[in-house]
Symmetry: C2
Subunit: 492 residues, 2 copies
Amino acid sequence: MLDQAKALPKPPAEEIKERLEHAHEKLANQQLLLKENKLPVIVLFEGWGAAGKGSMISKVIKTLDPRFFSVNTLTAPTAEETRRPFLYRYFSRIPEAGSFLFLDGGWMADVTRDVLKGNIDAAEYKNRIGSIRRFESTLTANGYLVLKFFFHIEKKEQKKRLALLREEASTSWRVSDFDRWENKHYENCSQVYDQFLEDTSSASAPWYVIDAASRKWAELQIMENLTSGIDVALKNHVLSVPLLQNVFPLLDMPKLAEIPLDKTIEEDEYRVQLKNLQNRLSHLHNQLYKKKIPVVIVYEGWDAAGKGGNIKRLTAALDPRGYEVIPIASPKPFEKDRHFLWRFWTKLPKTGHIAIFDRSWYGRVMVERLEGFCSENDWQRAYNEINEFEKELADWGAVVIKFWVQIDKDTQLARFTERQNTPGKQWKITDEDWRNREKWDLYEGAVDEMLHKTSTTYAPWYILESTDKRYARIKALKIVIEQLEKALEDTK
Amino acid sequence: MLDQAKALPKPPAEEIKERLEHAHEKLANQQLLLKENKLPVIVLFEGWGAAGKGSMISKVIKTLDPRFFSVNTLTAPTAEETRRPFLYRYFSRIPEAGSFLFLDGGWMADVTRDVLKGNIDAAEYKNRIGSIRRFESTLTANGYLVLKFFFHIEKKEQKKRLALLREEASTSWRVSDFDRWENKHYENCSQVYDQFLEDTSSASAPWYVIDAASRKWAELQIMENLTSGIDVALKNHVLSVPLLQNVFPLLDMPKLAEIPLDKTIEEDEYRVQLKNLQNRLSHLHNQLYKKKIPVVIVYEGWDAAGKGGNIKRLTAALDPRGYEVIPIASPKPFEKDRHFLWRFWTKLPKTGHIAIFDRSWYGRVMVERLEGFCSENDWQRAYNEINEFEKELADWGAVVIKFWVQIDKDTQLARFTERQNTPGKQWKITDEDWRNREKWDLYEGAVDEMLHKTSTTYAPWYILESTDKRYARIKALKIVIEQLEKALEDTK
């Protein structure tokens, strides 16, 4: 794809000047439309060292209101970031609705440098390409405009520029070891860059290879592609997005109504098993920590099904320094102004840690669906977006366990009534609980669809029959232990 | 991707039977919905020899109404097909709205065999992958459901099956030379297949790798993926499709209003030049034929601008066995029931031939746009779809020349009036011409947008200033000659 830099002939200087003025004016107007329509824009600048990425950003933003954009320069991942999935540092930085994010280097530099340094093999490269494709496509599907520019200069030109920069004391710091290495291994780098561009160019988040030999001409290419990209995004943002076909292996799941709820356990048996299982889990937690395996556990279920008590029996066995329970309520305004998974991406555990989500991203296809907090198109797309998100976690090496805590309608009524009549428990029951109960059948349909569409082999759902809460607790502990043992076995 | 065949565990026989019954019932119901919603479905079956592709088709169609599907088995391209772009044989076969097309082998077998036989190099492979991706995505964007299944069996299993087939006189004909070669070079084939699947899997036209060791289990995987794919397509067909970003290098074009129309040529000068140019063109036509270069010339322009006379001066120089003038009127019902480019794909010239389109696919973004014959989403998407289509022609090696024949409003009025007042010319002017004239300004806006968005480096627009028709004819001849000479030069 690098040969695309020469696809268009450079126009005469006078024409460039004229078209540049026009483009800057257009961008200045577009920023207001972007704000008005709550459209976020991510502009990624990548390219050869000394090709002029950094200085270009200041040219592009010159007519933009500083409140509406931020600029991020790629540095080496922090210690915190290296203990998260590969895309964490990018997903956590996505701009809010109506704002620009300019990235001076990003996931391309990350991956191609790892390839050039031999840090990752062909299989891991393939994984990362898959992650990047899904990342960019879920952003565009959720209204983000993603434009990517690669600044191209020839080997000779780069050499000349690097030499010039190094001559001056005031600019020599801008030449990195990598820049020099890159120029020396220009052909090899070319191949790796070309392959990456090819692998990650799509017509919804395209790469533009920019002829950066002339700065003015480079600026014009950027400005015209940027403004016409915004035109397209402004047309698209009112449209629904077609659903994608499912590409993940799905396990056959029973319907809620078919699940027998007569399972119980004797009190004495419960006490003995609880103690044994908690001891085993405690032991496993230490091993997980040593092996740096991250764990994500999701609890979803009916109100009063016993989620809280179940989680408590799990955490009782865990070292508090190595786990976190994350209660999920409705999103805050700054969370709503971003991709719906952003608030979960930013709450992922570190490697070796356990995150227990008390309610989760599945709110999208339950409460947000049924209460109309998102559009039908949004929740219908979400099944696939969630499967992709969990694929990211699994590829990272995480154990993903999802519990649906199941009771029947009568059991819920009995527990609601008991709560209402017990002074110490009244805080646990609200008007909203009663309102939700009225929509039981709608919720049941939504849960059936959710279980059917998101129980993948790498992140399966487990049903916890919880009319006897003790039975459900023992079952949860057994499943967690089994899955952790399997993961430890796999890393041996 | 071949390892995906083992992603799901094979269920017990009883469960398979039950789920199969359910899936066949579902498909029987879905075919009515597909017909009702005018949704076309393309199902591609590819896979290892003797993996059971052919016999699977008969199982899948058993509950389908024969009026609603057709089955095509891949054979070697005919002589006619080899003289057309790579995708011609597939684009020309796409089903009409509401029908199924089952393909027993298709573009995957075509490409991977060419790779295995060494018929195409890495660059040509990359081109074909690009073509296939665009082909599948424009189909899905236009409401086609495209599902692709790869039947996977292990080397040993294939060897066993081939031996069994060859033992019986009644089945030995089913084992081809290629099947035996494939089994012998199983590992090499695996690599090529895996790469192809990886390169062409997308979440809108995904590959499903099917574990075909057990026939019943294979049938279930196909049926469940097919029916859930149809579910998604039925949900999508009412939605608009987001516009893609432009990824093609666009030339800067003037607005119609800015084009000076004062160019003329003297009568004597015209006669001399016309004769010379036609002689040169005539000579070039022979060379084109020998070099097998295909040529596509598009004429668009205002009514009474002089398209017809211009075309005549061109064809006067050509050997009638080597060119065709294709007048384009509004589409017939069977054409409307397919992708809007289908009727142009099927009219492409053979290699070495010239096709002159008197009006063309650009009707989509002019008359169809302005008269509401397609949705806004349709014509907005069409700019990119047209650029992709012409890219296919250019990659095939075709010379693509597009003329906009330009006059001003007064000139049109003068010519209309003259036609009306000249008995021999009255047939040339209709009420519709007068109606279109009233919408001049709307058309002018649409033409400006069209020229701006579809003048690519590989298929540029040329303006023919035609207030002096003779000037326009000479200019057209010069451009055609120049472009053909360039193409001949490039093939030297």
